[in-house]
Symmetry: C2
Subunit: 345 residues, 2 copies
DNA sequence: CTGTTAGCGCCTTCAG
DNA sequence: CTGAAGGCGCTAACAG
């Protein structure tokens, strides 16, 4: 028999009981004798029964589906995060729908409509670079669909998020350079209206301050996460009237192209100049094996955000959570013992 | 009113007609007057009606969902492919469930079970490195669930796939080196039981042969896609009794670590030695901006595979298709004009 | 062209 | 503890 089409009625008939009892047993209801429960489960396994989630979800008015909105799947941080999201979601019995905003506000809005049309039970979002207005999240709130921001968040009241401790990361990176002896440290930033770049910048300033170094805004170089920006930043930096001896780059795209430009200019990295950059294992291995980097724990963030979201979905009633989970990003001084490792995420 | 809970019955009642007519109109059935159709659609929009796919799918016994199995989401080629899959699937009205095999046969099998339990309408697969036995795909065949291989495929009869023209890519890469003047060209391969690496290797040999160069198996270096392999390959290569003047690397992981090892050994790339490697824009920009690479068109492959799969799902009856779509990978000689571009996928 | 009827597979009152 | 009955929202016969 097609094990594909076994329903609770089939197994009820074979056992001369009612399908409602089967349903209860399969949902582990306490209102069924252990004995009959066991008979039912045995028969279900024997027939290769698989619950029809469509029917179940229709009845229960839920989808067991999570929506995810990220700027771009192919950026390593996000694909790692998605790996963590998928794995955790499946474990908790949820499916996942993934959408890309491609850093466009308009697409982010239409992504939300897609997810709404799919009646997702909850949403995970990392906002686009363009997003400075948060009206499109109101639709989710109205329908009481919980959502959790991860990595890139925004300050909507009564909203949860899972973040990297960007302040600490920026602080650690900068302090690392200071302890190494750098006195004049440039900061390659990202779009400063995004919280993550703002916080990394604040960390940078705090570390300078702690070590009695003045902040010089000529040393702040912003960028829009383009390759060309890193090159431009290096050129501007080298045109300064004084010598820079360290760089903390808060975005990896700029970090990478900056490294290359430095090399083209005949500057040895990281001997002539010390650099710390946000990155990931693969990339950091490539740009400069001895470079100190700060890994973005994408997988962990994805896992953590999913767990938080699912707990909100299950709690149902109180949609007014305002929980913030902070995940640390660790400074990694790469050395030869790390070669040959496969990335885990 | 909660636009969330509008059903066809609500709009039927408001218009004093039957819900079945509404259903027909919304499905654009030809058996409804244009006039009533318009009234219905207008009212639906007014109320913000959204079809409940769960109910519809339950009735129609389908899920409008595609399953995807890839070795690892965070590898750039696969995340690009997924971007193409998602975009195409949504356009065609399908959702997507993504699974990672992590290059493990066992996980690939359990992925298929997950997808079966989700009653997906079709599956896209890029097999794991371990997969040499294809029994686990029988379950899909039995239940008449169509599946399409992409990139990494296997020779199951009556099965479709979307592939890169790996033979041509290998041929082009090698010929490129020969035309540049290389006489002694090493080949860094991948696991040769995988069709893609076999075909690239065949292309390599064919180019040598065309240009009257002998194949020397001391110049063939295999690997398991680990960083360490590229390093080992370079060391072995440098230990040869004769000089190598070109490398064609058929896998990017090895290519990257190999480049670094060459530099550590004081060899200038690509002056002392010419290299062509499989890669992607970002990575190739990093390892060596002037390096010639072969881009894997992940997005296109994802799109194409999805279109093929959906057409098979819609054709329903004939599950015996055996279609192979070949996508070309182009040789890219990077130059400065390509800097600053954002990747599109 | 439109209405009536029935049922996809499941879960949940309400009775017993 | 279990059975009977109804309905989630939609669509597809079958009538008219």
């Amino acid at each position: 028999m097609d094990s594909d089409k076994i329903t609770i009625h089939d197994i009820a008939k074979l056992l001369n009981i009612d399908s409602s009892t089967v349903s209860r047993a399969l949902n582990n209801s306490p209102r069924v004798t252990e004995k009959t429960k066991n008979r039912i489960i045995a028969k279900a396994n024997e027939l290769g029964y698989q619950r029809n989630h469509l029917a179940s979800n229709l009845r229960l008015n839920k989808t067991n589906t999570l929506g995810v909105i990220v700027p771009r799947i192919s950026r390593h941080f996000f694909s790692s995060a998605i790996a963590g999201i998928e794995e955790t979601a499946y474990k908790l019995g949820f499916n996942v729908i993934i959408c890309q905003s491609l850093e466009l506000l308009e697409r982010e809005q239409s992504n939300i409509n897609t997810l709404l049309a799919n009646r997702v039970d909850g949403v995970l979002v990392s906002i686009s670079m363009e997003t400075e207005n948060y009206d499109h999240f109101e639709g989710l709130k109205q329908r009481k669909i919980p959502f959790v921001f991860f990595d890139r968040h925004c300050n909507i009241p009564e909203t949860s998020s899972v973040l990297i401790d960007d302040f600490k990361a920026g602080f650690d990176a900068t302090e690392h350079l200071i302890i190494k002896g750098c006195q004049s440290i440039a900061h390659f930033s990202g779009p400063l209206h995004l919280e993550i770049y703002k916080n990394r910048f604040e960390g940078y300033k705090a570390a300078l301050s702690k070590h009695n170094l003045d902040f010089n805004d000529a040393l702040l170089f912003s960028s829009r996460l383009m390759e060309q920006d890193g090159i431009d930043n290096v050129n501007k930096m080298l045109a300064l009237s004084f010598r820079v001896d360290g760089i903390f780059s808060a975005n990896d795209v700029a970090a990478i192209s900056a490294m290359q430009q430095l090399k083209r200019e005949g500057i040895t990295v990281p001997k002539d100049i010390a650099v710390v950059g946000f990155s990931n294992e693969t990339i950091s291995a490539i740009i400069e094996p001895s470079l100190t980097t700060i890994n973005q724990p994408g997988f962990d963030i994805g896992r953590s955000a999913t767990e938080l979201l699912v707990s909100q979905i299950k709690n149902g009633t109180k949609h007014t959570t305002n929980e913030h989970i902070i995940i640390h990003a660790n400074l990694i001084e790469r050395n030869s013992s790390q070669k040959g490792k496969q990335p885990k995420d």
